[in-house]
């Protein structure tokens, strides 16, 4: 190996020695958002059965402590859920659909007829059962797990989750 080659090699080694101790932590730092969240979503009581009428969907806010990076906002609405009471004798008696559109995440509203859902962003339309009625959304509105206690006017508890938009399958985020 000539002196020049040796110098070249040493320069490369030193450059790497200078760059790597910063580049590797820097990369880790950049990848921090991929960290697993504390996750574990819980059930929130959103309404009582008597708040709902058959065939008339109502939206309820999910109120939780919101942690936005370093700030903690106590008791904030973090999402909305449509609750649809089913006809007598159907089990479960209530269906919960997240208001987040499976197309691109806009908030789904009730259509003017009160009998279907309409997303105002790209006009995806869903039936009252959440099934898409045009070809905009890749999948039906996302149903959420629900718990209804026994009793004459039970609380409706919903497990609020978010799902990846665009996909034709339901993939929970985080």
């Amino acid at each position: 190996m000539s002196r020049r080659d040796l110098l070249r090699r040493l320069v490369s080694i030193c450059s790497a020695g200078l760059a790597l101790p910063l580049a590797i932590p820097g990369l880790a730092y950049l990848l921090s958002p991929l960290k697993k969240g504390s996750g574990g979503s819980s059930y929130d009581a959103l309404a009582r059965l008597s708040d709902l009428k058959v065939g008339e969907p109502r939206a309820f806010a999910v109120i939780r402590d919101l942690r936005d990076a370093w700030v903690k906002y106590p008791r904030q609405p973090i999402g909305a859920v449509w609750l649809i009471r089913q006809p007598e004798g159907v089990d479960p008696p209530v269906v919960a659909l997240t208001a987040e559109c499976p197309h691109l995440g806009c908030a789904v509203a009730l259509a003017a007829d009160g009998k279907s859902f309409l997303c105002p962003c790209h006009n995806s339309v869903f039936g009252i059962d959440g099934k898409p009625q045009n070809a905009v959304s890749p999948r039906p509105m996302d149903p959420l797990d629900i718990q209804i206690a026994k009793g004459d006017d039970p609380e409706i508890r919903v497990k609020f989750e978010r799902f990846r938009p665009q996909s034709d399958r339901r993939i929970p985020l985080a």
């Binding site: 110098l7 320069v11 030193c14 820097g26 730092y29 504390s38 942690r67 990076a69 370093w70």
Partner: protein, 589 residues
């Protein structure tokens, strides 16, 4: 495989010629270690730009969010503490290397004609490095950044005529806050780095011009290949980076003090090491001469440093050099002595240590609160972390307003003329009081409050019955604020409580609980919701009310505290402190 692509690019853009011109690999000088200072300074600047950009991904420049975002960088992001640590300490290293560069230039006479601009640019680069360090210091909006910026800008504001205007422009007004942060942020991430990059480029261009065409009469030694230059520069940079990383690892990153709080009374702000001598000058000079310390001396030093290249116009070259070196050595010696004095004075100052300890405790508490998932930085901003912490704020208000008469765990600040407030409203307090009401912990220190003592003498309750009364009264402090006595008494668990009839019979002859007992035998405070927030609030606001201690002689009554003296929020903090309703500090390790 890459060659065709490079050829294609070169064919379209002439990239090879551009690159060769930019790198300018011809050199006539010998590679020497002492010539690596400038290049290391430049490499540190690149490191600062890189780590700074990373920090900007999470940093949020406002007085309410800055501290929280910096804590988030330190603790929530992978290697965030390391990136911030390197950014902080490499910045300090730039100040040192900027100084070393000037010293070397001085020693090797690299400031004489035609190199005057090398010297001036070197000086400007050093000032820019210091300015970057100073502006960066404020950005976390912690106690250290807040107070030292306030001091430094107030010094600038003391300059006659222009001072106040300059200060206002830098601070963004009269108050230190959001505009101060945004202004310092803009200066720190754009203005100063761009100026520094321009000066650095100019310095490099000058250096090249002189290396390619050395000034007449200078021997440059045998030329070394650019590889040798590169290697020496890289090795020197590696050594400096290793030292920086060593410091970062040893100290666990850069410091973050408690969030800035303009109302905190006793924060011992100290400047960074390179300003300690100025700090000591300020301590030495009396007020009427303070401009000597803040303006005349620093201004004279800067002026002398700028004029050094012109000295040999006045004096023979040899003499000018000796004089310049002597001046700089004397300045360094003086600054070194003053810095050492500053540290020595602090080391011997008990008050400084006490204030420092308090600041450490506040910092640890703030960080614990912010990191705890159940607490977190409140939306009002990081300053409110401690203001909304019952342990810090509640205890502070209690000490300031209450412990002149009351005591806490036996400790007060004057003659005890009221009860011990530690755990007031708890079952423990209640049990102790019913056992020995004449103790100073309870009513022993209050003239005229002998009711409970007399009860103790005459009561015929059996121990088991007394226990049931305690069970019953221990429910009082948790009666919700929106419940009336009737609503509370109609609850099944209250109506059926075994302690209720005993309370009615033994306590109700003196104490009033609306809807349950009338009192009347002798004067006593009303007990509905005793120990709760609303009971304590009324006690604090209107202690002379008939349902509190209005029956005592006026001179033995507790003085009332209106909302102007103790705000509702502070009162809530005190109550929650007494109830132990706060994030418990971790057991000391």
């Amino acid at each position: 495989m890459l060659k065709p692509l490079a050829d294609w690019l070169d064919d379209r853009t002439g990239s090879r010629r551009l690159l060769a011109a930019a790198l300018d690999l011809r050199t006539t000088a010998a590679a020497r270690w002492r010539n690596t200072i400038g290049p290391v300074f430049a490499i540190l600047f690149v490191i600062e730009a890189f780590t700074g950009l990373l920090l900007m991904l999470a940093y949020s420049p406002s007085s309410s969010t800055a501290w929280g975002s910096v804590l988030y960088i330190d603790h929530a992001l992978w290697m965030g503490w390391f990136i911030r640590g390197v950014h902080y300490f490499a910045g300090q290293a730039m100040v040192i290397l900027g100084g070393l560069y000037l010293l070397r230039a001085l020693w090797s006479r690299a400031y004489h004609r035609p190199r005057e601009f090398n010297w001036w640019l070197g000086l400007i680069l050093l000032f820019l490095a210091v300015s970057l360090s100073r502006t960066g210091h404020l950005l976390p909006w912690d106690q250290e950044g807040y107070w030292s910026t306030k001091i430094e800008t107030n010094i600038a504001g003391g300059v006659p005529i222009a001072g106040p205007y300059v200060q206002k422009l830098v601070v963004g007004g009269d108050e230190y806050g959001n505009l101060t942060v945004t202004r310092f942020h803009a200066a720190h991430v754009v203005l100063l780095p761009v100026l520094l990059a321009v000066c650095l480029a100019a310095q490099i261009a000058l250096g090249r011009r002189q290396a390619v065409a050395p000034p007449a009469g200078e021997s440059t030694g045998t030329g070394s290949s650019w590889l040798e230059h590169a290697l020496k520069n890289l090795v020197a940079s590696l050594v400096v980076l290793a030292v920086v990383i060593g410091i970062v690892l040893a100290r666990g990153g850069a410091e973050l003090e408690a969030p800035a709080d303009p109302t905190s009374g006793d924060y011992p702000a100290r400047p960074d090491w390179y300003f300690l001598w100025l700090f000591q000058l300020l301590r030495i000079f009396p007020s009427e001469l303070r401009l000597v310390a803040t303006l005349v001396i620093p201004g004279a030093i800067v002026a002398v440093l700028f004029l050094i290249p012109l000295l040999d116009r006045l004096l023979p070259r040899g003499l000018a050099h000796v004089l310049a070196c002597a001046v700089v050595v004397a300045l360094l010696g003086g600054a070194g002595y003053l810095s050492w004095r500053a540290l020595a004075v602090d080391a011997a100052d008990a008050h400084y240590h006490a204030a420092r300890q308090e600041a450490d405790a506040a910092r640890d508490r703030a960080i614990a609160l912010a990191r705890d998932p159940s607490a977190g930085v409140p939306p009002e901003g990081s300053t409110f972390l401690l203001r909304l912490d019952p342990l810090t704020r509640g205890r502070g208000v209690l000490e300031k307003k209450c412990l002149g008469c009351h005591v806490l765990d036996g400790k007060g600040q004057g003659e005890q003329t009221a009860s011990d407030l530690a755990r007031f409203g708890s079952r423990e307090w209640l049990t102790g009081m019913l056992k020995d009401p004449a103790s100073k912990t309870y009513f022993g220190a209050v003239a005229g409050a002998e009711g409970m003592v007399e009860w103790k003498r005459t009561s015929k309750l059996k121990p088991q019955e007394l226990e049931q009364v305690v069970d019953f009264v221990a429910l009082f402090p948790s009666i919700p604020d929106d419940l009336t006595p009737d609503e509370w008494l109609s609850r099944k668990e209250i109506a059926d409580h075994p302690g209720l009839p005993l309370f009615h019979k033994d306590c109700g002859t003196c104490h009033v609980v609306e809807g349950l007992c009338e009192g009347g035998t002798r004067d006593a405070p009303g007990l509905f919701a005793w120990g709760s927030h609303r009971w304590i609030e009324r006690m604090v606001r209107k202690p002379a009310a008939l349902d509190r201690y209005g029956y005592l002689e006026p001179k033995h009554q507790m003085p009332p505290f209106a909302a102007e003296q103790v705000s509702s929020r502070d009162l809530e903090m005190v109550v929650r402190f007494l109830k132990g309703d706060y994030l418990k500090p971790a057991a000391p390790r």
